[in-house]
Amino acid sequence: MKNNTQNNTFDAIVVGSGISGGWAAKELTEGGLKTLVLERGRDVQHFKDYTTAFKNPWEFKHRSHLTNKELEERPIQSSHCDAGNKHFFVKDSEHPYVQVKPYKWIRGYQVGGRSLTWGRQSYRFSQMDFEANKNDGHGVDWPIRYEDLAKWYDYVEDYVGISGSSESLSHLPDGVFLPPIPMNVIELHLKEKVSKEYSDRVIINGRVANLTAPKKGRGPCQYRNLCSRGCPFAGYFSSNSSTLLDAHETGNLTMRANSVVKEVIYDDLQKKAIGVVIIDAVTKEEISYYAKVIFLNASTIATTAILLNSTSPSFPDGLGNTSGQLGHNLMDHAVNEGTYGTYDGLKDKYYTGKSPGTIYIPRFQNLNSETKHIDFIRGYGIQGKGERENWQSKATTGIGVSLKEQLATPGEWRISLGGRGETLPNYENKISLDHQKRDNWGLPLVEVDFEYGPNELAMMEHMTKSSEEMLKKAGFKNVGSYRTSPDPGAAVHEMGTARMGKDPKTSVLNNHNQMHDVKNVFITDGSCMTSSGSQNPSLTYMALTARACSYAINQINSNQL
């Protein structure tokens, strides 16, 4: 083990460079801390490493298809990637895990992590979400409320650049917005019809981290809708295009790619964490790094796996796990497979440019006594997209000249809707380590044991039913849904496993994302989530990260860490 303490010592270590790790890197370095960022995957430099970004469809030998060999290497990831972005997803064959029940763990091991391929939907949690556990007794109460996070939402939104519209909904607070991506004619049609037919719901412009106006040398969005290949225009927010570049600017950042964190080192005498041990992904050499404060941002499941593997006399069951909650309460958003319909009309309208955004129907269930449901608690929102069919979606007849003409003609208008529902925290949904099975670096494999409960299943059923009803009431034809079995993990919104809470006996982190048991370890990725809300969670991770970094910097400056 290489233990050159002097060269290997920093003020702060951040594990992971995805959406929350990038924020930790930016905030800590801007706060004056010499910060080491450890990323288990390869380096990906903004612009230069977006190797497919400018490729035309015909420059891909198999167009968007993965080959049989690529599919074999990616039995899980393949449902979420194609030929254009597969290099930003792991090969399952190189990074196996154990599924007790089917669970898709979608991962991107590279600098920037999944911030390169995320869906960019950005919604605030509301007071209702922070009080949900307390009010219905599922899980434990959040140790914070909306007002604790509001100014941090402002702060990160202003930096990230979220396009959206202010709507004055108490259950989906407004934020600091760039102009919204406008709706096309079919989306507006649906919005108007839904407003007429329903008093309990509205359709709003989706709030997305795509720049409708330039920001600090980034963007604006060029409306290519090829975001997940990496954007050469920095038209959407990723760690690579923004937080990591700003962190680098400070001169305080050391980035080390290909660094698989094996464990956090705990000193039983000092009663704090003193550093981490990494395995170089390429050379397999073990190296230790030391710091005053450690931020774990490796992603929900991976962060907890590191903690479970970090055992010491004080913490034989994993670092900071005196509550026994570490690894438990895994959540993911419940998604249905989508509902669609076509509209016969508005044929004289079209659009130019490809919107990377969506429309959004904020949660409209269980908001008050009028919207109360008997078959499920909490609720779901619906994302949607309207488009005019082209060759990719339209049904054609025949062959020859007439077929060729059909292909060149814009087809019917079509809307697709998909729900995202809150998953209740449940102790039985968990991750653990299987020490009998090891990966290429000798580390125990993660075992995921998750299934939706009756509340999520009832909600999924309802989101499909309500989506179909809305489209029918709005005059759509050929309304149908893809009804397949529940697909846990498919939302790529895994949350929980190291939850925040007021009581060290029942939670892992306190109100500052600080481990109850180990005060110089902070966790601000999805692991910290006490409940899941129905909103896409990345914005909340970013706000929690900025808030926790500010706290940690103050603690260090006042010699309390």
Binding site: N56, P57, W58, V185, Q222, K354, S355, I399, K404, L407
Partner: protein, 190 residues
């Protein structure tokens, strides 16, 4: 009982290749794709895609190398079922061509080619649940694959996307509602 099963039954040879009337082997379940065999059909595939998407004011599928795309797809992406169906479909089509017009497909007249493919489309048209069952049991049918791959290969080719459809790689703006112009072409990509 379809013809392949009938022949297989007579010869008791289902599961292995045998020599058909044209001297080409039927292909029923070898473990790997028989690429040499597919190469032998490249000219036939080129003729087929050009009947499905012929040259008009814009180039046709053959000029746009769609047959090469289909070859690459079959070689690297198709499942075993799909590959088998495709090779068998090419074989069947060639036999039907000889039976009907005394000529291999490549040498038929345009009218004859269209007739052969239209008959094939008719005989392979399932929809709804029947299509799903058929796809599940036997894999996508030869004609459905041929047509879908031709459309995809053509619309994502340089010719198809830029000369037959409207392709805008960097729109630079989003005009959410525009008035459709007379003869405005559909966008090539979403």
């Amino acid at each position: 009982m379809n013809r392949r099963k009938a022949i297989g039954g007579i010869f008791g040879l289902v599961g292995v290749g045998f020599v058909s009337v044209l001297g080409a082997k039927y292909y029923i379940g070898n473990s790997s794709h028989d690429i040499e065999k597919l190469e032998g059909y490249l000219d036939l595939i080129a003729e087929l895609v050009d009947v499905i998407i012929p040259p008009t004011a814009s180039p046709g599928a053959k000029e746009s190398s769609v047959h090469h795309y289909i070859f690459d797809f079959m070689e690297d992406c198709a499942s075993r079922k799909e590959y088998t169906n495709f090779i068998n479909g090419l074989n069947d089509l060639q036999e039907t061509s000889v039976d009907s017009f005394n000529s291999v497909f490549e040498e038929c007249s345009t009218t004859q080619k269209i007739q052969l493919l239209e008959n094939l489309e008719e005989s392979s048209t399932y929809s709804g649940i029947l299509l799903k069952i058929n796809n599940k049991l036997r894999g996508r049918s030869f004609f459905n694959m041929l047509k879908a791959l031709t459309i995809e290969g053509y619309c994502t080719s340089s010719n198809g996307a830029t000369k037959h459809l409207a392709y805008l790689p960097v729109p630079g703006r989003y005009d959410a509602i525009t008035k459709l112009k007379v003869n405005q072409k559909a966008w090539a990509t979403k």
